[in-house]
């Protein structure tokens, strides 16, 4: 083995490190460690001149191992590995000591920080001694993309990629694409009709030659990694023959069985066989098996739809025997755009949601003002009367330590939109209860200003309760909104016929399941975590999996669309490059030590090691494209035959040993 010559570089990171660590002393100390031939400190190691120090020392001093003590390797390990490579050194002969995030930013005593930095540098030096050059291999990227979620985010991402003539599988769990946006009436602040702007996009998605739409389907299993994911999708039974159905709607019209419509938020009914809404894509009905009398009676009752379907798309066979289908395909990248759930305000009992008929949520009211909705676009109470006064309550479940601390970002604006629409569509007085008015987007503040001239009563204060207990004549037969008006500094009671709760946007109830399916992380608030909040907002810690829209946190339609386009750009750049770099730090079997016991094969989640017979001897062999480098096999290997490259026992023991030494 050639002589190990280590170069150590201590970064000041401006004053981020140098302000609370004596960097010169750490560099001097590093110079005394075995095999260290050069030790320097520099203001910004990640800058070009900083990287040049490394490259020059490789060329001129012949160093063959590099240690940089700076920020987290999660931040700049790729930068310095590349610097090593540019200098002619294998990038894996590099080790980083994290003296910023794990030291200078979290402790403030300079003497202690300097000592800790020395410890971390010493450990890195002892470990880098054992580093070996690793070969970086490339693998092709499958150009197909999976998009999960057919709301505005998923549709936009799918269209952008498909317009580049790459195949997209768009999976939507509901019978139609459209997401929450298709339920909305008008969109703030321009008040353009949501359906009008969305349905052309939905039709594009439905007809696109490069989009395979899998509606009423859910992803069941994902394996593999960036460039080569394997996906298994469950296409749920619609109990009709999709190839024959022409979407005429006669079945739905004649079906006698009714229940609350999910799309209309329970404000209207749907049938047991139904097309969720008029512009649904695909325009196919779906049978609710729990409600269908024919299915429930095992073919003994009803069967009206069978008799009336001229296209013969509904038959006893489809209703009684159709099964879910499993569809399998391969993709190179995945875009997760699974959206949000509306917060359920019934968990705030004092607001009376679920108890009083005319306490509604935002999504209910969207359906009420929609011309195609259950009231034909008229603002009406449950009993059909026109309200004389309507209260709009902001921040229900948002900005509230008891529920969600975050701001849901869209409620102020849709609350204002409702106020405007109530004024436009009815004669009712409007009372808007807010904590702060957050109107930050394009045209938002102007919209707020415009509304303040429309005779709306703005009351700054959080609503304490909503009750039907009248204490004055005026309150009789009405709901009463009790709140503190913080500008007047007193409690007020406002009688209202209808109360709209601007309910928070929250993470989907099945976000945990989706997270484990795609190996995503979730923030404390339940939404999916981006790789970097500022600089990598649509990537995730899992390579090749991107996130768009409200699954990452509440946002409005323009932000969602922009983010969806960003994910499409990420997927397209992967496709355009065509290859990905495979993990080099993976398992390695020393065949001379391996007994072929198979413990590695048993523990591996990815089926990478396999015991095979080689010249009559049983040994384990690792499939390099399957191995993720998690290291579980090395822990259970009884003979020490398996090691993880770059994380060998020798290396880790050297590092731990160095950390427990005394300076």
């Amino acid at each position: 083995m050639e002589e190990v010559k280590i170069g150590v570089y201590i970064c000041h990171c401006g004053l981020n490190i140098a302000g609370v660590v004596n960097v010169e002393e750490v560099a001097r100390y590093a110079g005394t460690l075995p095999n260290v031939v050069v030790s320097r400190d520099y203001r910004y190691m990640c800058s070009d001149p900083g990287q040049d120090l490394i490259k020059n020392d490789i060329k001129e001093l012949g160093i063959n191992r590099v240690v940089v003590a700076s920020c987290s390797p999660r931040m700049h390990e790729p930068t310095f590995r590349k610097a090593c490579q540019d200098g002619g050194l294998n990038p894996y002969l590099y080790e980083q000591a994290n003296i910023r995030e794990h030291c200078s930013w979290v402790h403030d005593d300079k003497t202690i920080n300097t000592k800790k930095s020395k410890d971390l540098v010493r450990a890195a030096v002892k470990r880098v001694y054992y580093h070996e050059p690793l070969e970086v291999k490339e693998a092709p990227v499958n150009p197909n993309v999976l998009v999960v979620g057919g709301g505005i985010a998923g549709m936009q991402a799918a269209l952008d990629i498909a317009n580049g003539e790459h195949k997209v599988y768009l999976v939507e769990k509901d019978p139609s694409i459209g997401g929450h946006m298709i339920q909305l009436d008008r969109t703030f602040p321009t008040l353009d009709c949501s359906e009008c702007i969305l349905t052309p996009k939905m039709a594009d998605v439905g007809h696109h030659a490069f989009i395979e739409l899998l509606a009423y389907s859910e992803v069941e299993e994902v394996s593999g990694a960036i460039g080569q994911f394997k996906v298994k999708v469950r296409k749920k039974a619609r109990y009709i023959d999709e190839s024959k159905c022409v979407g005429c709607g006669v079945c739905e019209e004649k079906c006698p069985w009714k229940t609350d419509s999910e799309f209309e938020m329970g404000l209207a009914k749907r049938k047991a066989i139904y097309i969720p809404f008029a512009q649904a894509i695909p325009n196919l009905p779906v049978v609710d098996p729990d409600l269908c009398a024919y299915i429930q009676s095992d073919g003994k009752k009803c069967g009206a739809c069978i008799k009336l379907c001229e296209a013969e798309a509904i038959t006893p066979e489809t209703l009684l025997n159709q099964m879910d289908q499993i569809v399998e395909f391969d993709v190179g990248s995945i875009i997760v755009a699974t959206g949000y759930d509306q917060f359920d305000p019934s968990v705030i009992p004092q607001y009376g949601y679920g108890k009083y008929d005319n306490v509604l949520t935002g999504l209910h009211f969207e359906r009420i003002t929609c011309a195609a909705g259950p009231t034909g676009g008229k603002v009406l109470l449950k009993d059909g009367r026109e309200p004389e006064s309507v209260a709009i309550v902001h921040c229900v479940g948002s900005r509230d330590q008891n529920y969600h601390e975050y701001c849901s970002r869209v409620c102020c604006m849709y609350g204002l939109k409702y106020a405007h629409l109530i004024k436009e569509l009815s004669k009712a007085d409007v009372y808007e209860f807010y904590i702060d008015m957050r109107c930050f987007g394009e045209g938002f503040e102007e919209f707020y200003k415009r509304l303040s001239e429309e005779g709306i009563n703005f009351i700054r204060g959080k609503v304490a309760k909503i009750t039907d207990q009248a204490i004055t004549e005026e309150e009789k037969g009405k709901l009463v909104v009790v709140a503190e008006d913080t500008l007047l500094g007193k409690m007020i009671r406002v009688p209202a016929d209808m109360v709209i709760l601007c309910a928070a946007l929250e993470a989907r109830s099945d976000a945990d399941k989706v997270a484990s399916l795609f190996a995503l992380n979730r923030r404390a608030d339940g939404f999916f975590l981006e790789r970097h909040v500022k600089l990598d907002p649509v990537a995730t810690p899992t390579d090749g999996v991107f996130i768009a829209g409200c699954c990452e946190g509440p946002r409005d339609i323009p932000d969602t669309v922009a983010q969806a386009e960003a994910t499409a750009a990420k997927a397209l750049s992967l496709i355009s490059k065509g290859t990905i770099t495979l993990e080099a730090a993976i398992s390695h079997v020393d065949e001379t030590v391996c007994h072929g016991c198979g413990r590695c094969e048993e523990i591996c989640t990815f089926h990478a090691p396999k015991v095979i017979s080689k010249d009559g001897v049983m040994v384990s062999e690792v499939n390099e494209t399957l191995c993720k480098g998690c290291g579980a096999c090395a822990v259970v290997c009884p003979t020490g035959a398996i090691s993880i490259k770059h994380f060998t026992q020798e290396e880790i023991l050297a590092q731990v040993g160095a950390l427990t030494e005394v300076q």
Partner: protein, 144 residues
């Protein structure tokens, strides 16, 4: 005499707890400087030998921390780590070490404050417990 400052070696998985410690850094959440982190790719990569090496070197406490069960980048690393940890915990008294010196935590990427709290709690706990019986070994060994 100086107050006893315990030394903690923390084995943290790259994807969750190491990142949580990074987040504590970027958020400037301060915690005691007694901990030294060893970055491993997965908590399932923690070999009992690494923990023993830390105790042998005189560490007063060892923290093994990684993803929550559902967050694992490698699907089920935490379960593998738990299995290893259960066996290791049983060995502590055989080694003449108190159980409290070995700690297992699951700390996700977003839990920078949790990481800081865990370190602080562990330091307080170890201060009450006093130095590891093997810490004299550390004093005899001088780093070069």
């Amino acid at each position: 005499m100086d107050e006893f400052e315990p030394q903690i070696i923390a084995f943290c998985c790259n994807w969750c707890t190491y990142a949580a410690a990074d987040l504590a850094g970027t958020s400037r959440v301060h915690y005691p400087a007694n901990v030294r982190i060893v970055r491993l790719m997965c908590s399932g990569m923690v070999d009992p030998m690494y923990v023993l090496k830390a105790f042998e070197g005189g560490a007063d406490g060892v923290l093994v921390a990684g993803c929550h069960l559902v967050d694992c980048h490698y699907i089920d690393g935490p379960e593998k780590c738990d299995a290893m940890f259960a066996k290791l915990s049983k060995m502590m008294h055989v080694l003449g070490l108190e159980d409290e010196r070995l700690r297992r935590e699951m700390i996700s990427t977003s839990e920078g404050t949790v990481f800081a709290r865990v370190v602080k709690e562990f330091v307080d706990q170890l201060k009450k417990l006093g130095p590891s019986p093997f810490s004299s070994l550390r004093k005899e060994k001088v780093a070069v």
